[in-house]
């Protein structure tokens, strides 16, 4: 049997050695890891507008440098508050959606990326919600009419591979969102993921068999998440000269 003194000394030495070693490795890799993460997030945002990338590329064709360059040249970043006002001096990429979700609704900040290509603007909004096991999130690109979806990309923290994880792994799932409309005759309806197959071609997409909870999570996330941007879109619409693109006035 070992004395308490020995055990204490042993444990203290072991934990210190391990802590120092891990901190060292972490520090040595931190910069590259942060860079990797930044590029990964930017790729996710760009994949929402994958149909409109320069040169007809898809996101996976782009090199890391291309991603950073496109972001530099073609993307304007805004940070919004819940009243739809632009927060000065804050970039969209500095907003951590996971942290924002923990705040009371009125205090949240929203990232907005405006991507421009061939004279067209695309408004990319970020949404976040709950899947079956953990959080899910996504980026939705809206066309200039602020109604038609130009593309979407999703990701998740821990959904089941082959089931819930299909929202990310199966490119056919996000592709379904292209061309869907979030307004029905001027009324906000968002897009619904329908179990057993979409019935309304304008506002619904097919669900994933075996992943109903994740699919419902996507529906819920889209409904709430896009609605947060409503005040800002409202301002955009009333400010723009030909802003009657939504069918409200008809």
């Amino acid at each position: 049997m070992y004395s308490t003194r020995y055990i204490l000394i042993f444990v203290v030495i072991l934990t210190s050695v391990v802590a120092i070693a891990l901190t060292g490795i972490r520090e040595a890799t931190a910069e590259k890891a942060a860079q990797n993460e930044d590029i990964f997030n930017k790729r996710a945002i760009l994949s929402a507008v994958s149909d409109y990338l320069p040169g007809g590329n898809t996101v996976s064709d782009l090199s890391d440098q291309d991603v950073l360059r496109i972001f530099e040249e073609k993307v304007t970043q805004y940070a919004l508050n819940m009243e739809g006002e632009v927060i000065e001096g804050l970039k969209a990429e500095d907003i951590d959606m996971a942290k924002e979700r923990k705040k009371p609704e009125a205090e949240r900040r929203l990232p907005l990326y405006v991507y421009e290509q061939d004279g067209n603007g695309y408004y990319i909004v970020s949404v976040r919600g709950n899947g079956l096991w953990d959080e899910i999130w996504g980026n939705i690109a809206l066309k200039e009419d602020l109604n038609t979806i130009a593309g979407a990309s999703f990701d998740h923290k821990g959904e089941t591979p082959g089931l819930g994880a299909e929202i990310k792994d199966n490119p056919a799932f996000p592709a379904q969102f292209k061309g869907k409309e979030i307004y029905d005759e001027g009324e906000y309806v968002s897009v619904t993921v329908r179990k057993g197959g979409a019935r309304d071609p304008q506002h619904e997409v097919d669900g994933i068999s075996g992943a109903t909870v994740t699919a419902d999570g996507v529906t819920e996330m889209l409904y709430r998440g896009i609605k947060y941007y409503e005040p800002y879109f409202e301002d955009l619409r009333s400010n723009s000269q030909q802003g009657m693109l939504i069918q409200t006035e008809e």
């Binding site: 049997m1 070992y2 020995y6 055990i7 042993f10 444990v11 072991l14 934990t15 391990v18 070693a21 891990l22 490795i25 972490r26 890799t29 590259k32 890891a33 990797n36 993460e37 590029i39 990964f40 990701d155 923290k157 821990g158 089941t160 591979p161 082959g162 089931l163 792994d169 068999s209 075996g210």
Partner: protein, 239 residues
């Protein structure tokens, strides 16, 4: 030529011998003492990650690394580890190696890290790792413990990948989905090797949704155990 061979033998033999006994440490867990099908350890992660082959392969590599090096370090410290806190010490070693794996993946391939971050954490809870540390490394020399760890990691990985192959082919009709070398085997569109829509023979075929669920892994492992025991009769428990 002969001289150098002799020299090498002389310098290497005492440090890292690789004789019959050592080879057995690697090959035994592949069949006679397989951690999953014979020791029945590590079942939980075998059910969780095997719905696709690619995560199974990465998981297998990560486990081989973690179990090999935690066996090595535990064995090196075995005479100094106080018996009262040995479990905690083993956990510290395993957990720090898992963190090393995680940090390395973040550094080298962020998308794969993102995809696997949940499973990487699961290695800590994998009973094979701690089982081998307790049963072998605490009582054996570092080199042999290292080999035993690698062997058990490989035995685990072998079953993991085999289950993954069966589940992915019959559940999704693909192989290595999510990796750069994705293969489309059987499915209803032209991109697949066997296109079920205009194939007279496979027209009836649809993917089996049960295969995607963890329960399928249980059946498949069961079938593997059956097959293994019908060939390897010394494993059959007659009592």
């Amino acid at each position: 030529m002969a001289e150098t061979a002799v020299k090498e033998k002389v310098t290497r033999e005492p440090m890292l011998p690789f004789g019959k006994k050592e080879r057995k440490l690697i090959t035994d867990p592949l069949n006679d003492n397989n951690p999953i099908t014979v020791q029945v350890l590590g079942i939980c992660s075998a059910l969780a990650v095997t719905s696709l082959v690619y995560p199974s392969v990465v998981m297998a590599i990560a486990v081989v690394f973690v179990i090999g090096f935690s066996s090595l370090f535990t064995s090196m410290l075995r005479n100094y580890i106080p018996k009262q806190v040995r479990m905690i010490v083993q956990l510290v070693i395993i957990a720090s190696l898992v963190t090393v794996v995680e940090l390395t993946l973040r550094y080298l391939n962020y998308p794969v890290y993102k995809q696997l971050s949940v499973y990487i954490g699961l290695i800590i809870t994998n009973c094979i790792v701690m089982g081998r540390l307790e049963a072998f490394s605490m009582a054996n020399k570092p080199w042999r413990s290292f080999l035993d760890g690698i062997g058990n990691g490989l035995g685990y990985g072998l079953i993991l990948i085999a289950v993954g192959v069966v589940r992915e082919i019959f559940g999704k009709g693909t192989l290595f989905a999510g990796s750069p070398i994705e293969l489309k085997i059987i499915g209803p569109t032209a991109g697949y090797l066997i296109n079920t829509t205009d194939n007279a023979f496979f027209g009836w075929y649809v993917n089996n949704n049960l295969m995607v669920l963890p329960a399928a892994a249980m059946f498949i492992i069961g079938i593997f155990i059956w097959i293994q025991r019908s060939y390897n009769t010394k494993l059959v428990d007659v009592s």
